[in-house]
Structures are given as structure tokens and as C-alpha cells.
Symmetry: C2
Subunit: 287 residues, 2 copies
């Protein structure tokens, strides 16, 4: 999915928001906004949003000499999600439509996103979690695939969201104990996307093989993926992709079927998938 | 008043909004946003917002080969204001505090502004017009000055707003028939700022001498002012300045006392004058 005009201003606003979140002074903020503008001026409509975001965030990290500007927020998001986990698991255990509800939990977790220019309320999101409505709902197709699958590639997204994914992965393992699951994360810190380091000590490591994709963009961009993650991506019987960033770089581009699970958080992605901002999506994407 | 970090994103958002208002396609919109980004990358914190806006709007006009992209909106705003004029004049005529209320009308007109990233509701603005509250209220000082003044320099702002200024100018003439009033407008179309051409056929021409300042920035920037308007500005007994753009380039910079009348429409200007967004201001600015 290529950028549209709104993406320029969205990414620029993200840069401004970072300067505020990090309490930078006006001088260094101006340097960051001027440098970001220079980067934006280079990109025409043939690029995808995560490609531009990559360069902008790398420029900001280099300018500030900080390798992971969202480290604190990521830790806090995971901590908060872990507090909610037992409650959600209990709720799930006693629910009908076990698998569908586990997917709803994973999609609810997708609200945790610092790369979009909006705040989120996780507590509100999960209050009525199993009543989640969908714009696209390819759950039945996903379920059919899961029944047959031996190997599942699960493309991760944000920190905090990973705990909600863990609940879904665990549910899949419970229903289909034989399935081999790969949980594929970013190769380096980018926005609040989850990395190997963020997952240290978490249950996901015993449920799935956690894979470093090598990808530095906020989306599983195949151009940057290492051989192992590409092999898993293409050889799996089923790919589940979380979040907008992965959708933006894969949808219509990757040459294979992918099931996209995410919340629509901007109009550009909404247009690309025939949705509205705020919609929930289980979308079977073709080659 | 120099730019702050928010100004970069504000101006960028204005460029995006123009592409939408003019129904431009994605390709040309991208060209405009890339070119605007290149301009933004050049400006450090030593510049004033209207200086950057000037270059951005000129670039957009050149790219689109349109001399006055807001021509239609300006005409419509003046038409709408002229419809409201008799009602407002009737209301004013029968009111106590005649001069103060005439100033309130002029400030209410300042809500008509296409250079800020917010929409406005003129009808709502004038519904309860004489109950307008002020954050800064130097009305008494302004009134004292008016009593003594022989020559008044009135710096205009936006199209449509000029009709509300006309009511104030007419009120001043009624109270002080001897005063010579200059109504100073922009030298060329910039955003929806009022120019000589926009005032053709309007009553203001019989109440004041309308002066083309030569200024191409959305604010009376002395660097660009022609000799005549500079002479009037410095030789007048009293300067009344309308709008944020004039405030941004003159406040603390111009070397003379100016009475600023405006609505605060952004946080950067709010910070500069100790106000909040949405406040109304009658502010005596020192040298």
C-alpha cells in the first residue's frame, strides 16, 4: 500500500509528538522537525508509509543518540497488559466461541500503538471485548486454515499487544497442539514495535519459536527481512499478521495469502481496505 | 514573535488542507507536500510564522499557476459579512458602550480565517456578540488614545473581517469626525487576507483612505512594507492592528505602541501573549 497525501502530515505530526513526549527543548525539536521535513521531501507516492517512518525514526534516534526512544512506554504497556492477562484468560475460558473470542482479544490489543496520532484507552477497549464488531470478518476461513495447518507464521506488532497475542497463540496451541508456531518480531527498536528483547521472560517463548525478522521498518517489509523469517513467511501453511504496519507493507505486495487482524487507525488504511477509522478487521488478503 | 515547533506542523497541515480544498489529485498534492517540506526544512527558530507561510503559499500558487487560490472563499466571506452588516449596525446603534461594542464586532469578525487549521462558525460568533469576554482588555487606554488622535493607522487582516472593521471605522468616524483613518491592506493575495481588489465598491473607501502596504506576508511585516505604509504606520497617533498575523510580525518588533485586536487561534500565539486558544484580546503592545 503506497502513501497518500495524508501520510506526509501524519508522519510529521509523529515527529512533533516525539519531541513533546521526550520533553525536548525548542531548539533540538526544531532540528528534528527540519530534518524530518527534509526526509519527507524526498518521498514520492511510490513508497509505503513504514518505509518513510523508518528513515524518520532512525534520523530522530541518531540526532538524539537514543537507540530506543520508546523503551519506557514499551515496558509500561507490557506491564499493564500482563496485569490484564489473567482477567482476560478467565473471561475467555468460560466463553462460547473460544477461538473467535481469543482473536477478539488479540485485535483489542492492537489498540496499543504509539505510531498513530491518537491516544488509546485500553481499559475501555476490553470492557466489552467479546461484543467486538467487524467490518471484514473472514474468521470462518481463518478457522478452516487453522484446522489443516502444521506451521503458522504469526507476525507480531506492538509491545503490550504481544501479551494479547500470547493469549491467542496459547488458545491455538490448546486447540491444535501439533501446530508449530513462529512469532516473528522486528529486528530492532522502531516506535513501540515489539523486539526480541521486549519479550524476555514472557510466556510466548514457551508457546512459539520467537523469531527476529531483521526488519527495521514498522511493518514486516520483505525487502529487509532476513532469510529465516522470509522462509517461515513463505513456507507456513498460514500467516496471521497483526496491525496496520504489517498490512501496509504486505497487502497486495507479498505474493501469498495472509490473514490480517487489526484495528483501522487512519483514513489512508481505511480507504485501502474499504473500512472506516475505528473498524476491526479479520481480512483474508490474496496474493 | 518567532516560530515554535508547532508552527512547522501547522503550516504543513495548511498545505495539506489546501490540496483538499482545491480537490487536487494525489500526485500534485504529493508534489505540493514534498515542496512544502523542503521549504520547512530551511527555517530555523529565528523566523516568524508569516515569513514561512509566505514562501509556502507562493510556492503553492506557482506550482498550481493560480494567483489567488482563495478568491472564491474571500468573495463568499465578504458576501456573508455584508448580509450580516445591517443587523449588526442596528444592534450597535441601540446599545450602550457604543465604542466598546463596535470593537467587539471587529474582533468577532476576526474569526473568519482560512490560515488556521480550524473551521469557524460566524453565526455562532455573533449570536451573543456584546457579551464577549476578554483575556487582555486595554479598551480604556485605547479610548484615551482615540480621543487625542488625529491620524489612525488601521492594519487590516482577512476578507469578510473587513466588513466588521468597516463598522468599527464608521463608529470611530461618528465619534471623532476629524480623525484621518488609513485602512492598510496586503500588497498581494496571501491566504484569505484582504487586498485592494477585495475592497472594490465597499463603504470603507468613503470612510478611510485604503492603502496598499505592498506586504506579501500574512501579517504587516515591515521588511516588506512600502514607504507610504511605513510612514503611515510610524506617523500615526494610534495604530490598531487586527488579527494574529499582524501580531506575530509586529509584537515586540516594530518599535512603536500598537493596539492589537484579535482572537487567539493557536497555542503558540497564546503562549506569546499569556492567553489561551479562543481568548479575545485588546492588547496595548509597547515598543
Amino acid at each position: 500500500m503506497n502513501i497518500q497525501r495524508d501520510c506526509y502530515v501524519c508522519i510529521y505530526t509523529q515527529a512533533l509528538n516525539i519531541t513533546k513526549r521526550l520533553n525536548l527543548d525548542e531548539y533540538i525539536s526544531s532540528e528534528i522537525l527540519r530534518g524530518t521535513a527534509k526526509i519527507l521531501s524526498k518521498y514520492d507516492l511510490s513508497f509505503m508509509p513504514p518505509e518513510i517512518a523508518k528513515e524518520v525514526y532512525e534520523f530522530i534516534e541518531k540526532t538524539l543518540n537514543i537507540a530506543d526512544p520508546f523503551e519506557k512506554e514499551k515496558k509500561e504497556a507490557i506491564k499493564k497488559a500482563l496485569e490484564l492477562k489473567p482477567v482476560l484468560e478467565e473471561k475467555l475460558k468460560n466463553s462460547k466461541n473460544f477461538l473467535f473470542n481469543a482473536i477478539k482479544i488479540a485485535i483489542a490489543g492492537n489498540i496499543i500503538d504509539l505510531g498513530v496520532n491518537q491516544s488509546y484507552d485500553l481499559d475501555e477497549e476490553i470492557r466489552d471485548i467479546f461484543n467486538m464488531q467487524f467490518r471484514h470478518n473472514d474468521f470462518d476461513k481463518l478457522k478452516e486454515k487453522l484446522k489443516e495447518a502444521r506451521m503458522l507464521c504469526y507476525l507480531a506488532d506492538n509491545s503490550g499487544e504481544n501479551v494479547f497475542d500470547e493469549i491467542l497463540v496459547k488458545s491455538i496451541k490448546k486447540l491444535y497442539p501439533e501446530i508449530k508456531i513462529y512469532y516473528v518480531v522486528r529486528g530492532k527498536p522502531i516506535i513501540n514495535d515489539v523486539t526480541l528483547k521486549d519479550l524476555e521472560g514472557l510466556e510466548i517463548n514457551s508457546l512459539a519459536e520467537v523469531i527476529d525478522s531483521g526488519v527495521p521498518t514498522p511493518g514486516f517489509h520483505l525487502k529487509f527481512a532476513n532469510e529465516k523469517s522470509k522462509e517461515i513467511f513463505y513456507n507456513s501453511d498460514l500467516v496471521i499478521s497483526k496491525g496496520m504496519g504489517n498490512f501496509e507493507v504486505l497487502f497486495g505486495e507479498c505474493g501469498r495469502e495472509v490473514f490480517y487482524l487489526f484495528k483501522v487507525k487512519c483514513d489512508v488504511v481505511a480507504n485501502a481496505c474499504g473500512c472506516k477509522k475505528g473498524d476491526n478487521v479479520i481480512l483474508k488478503g490474496e496474493k
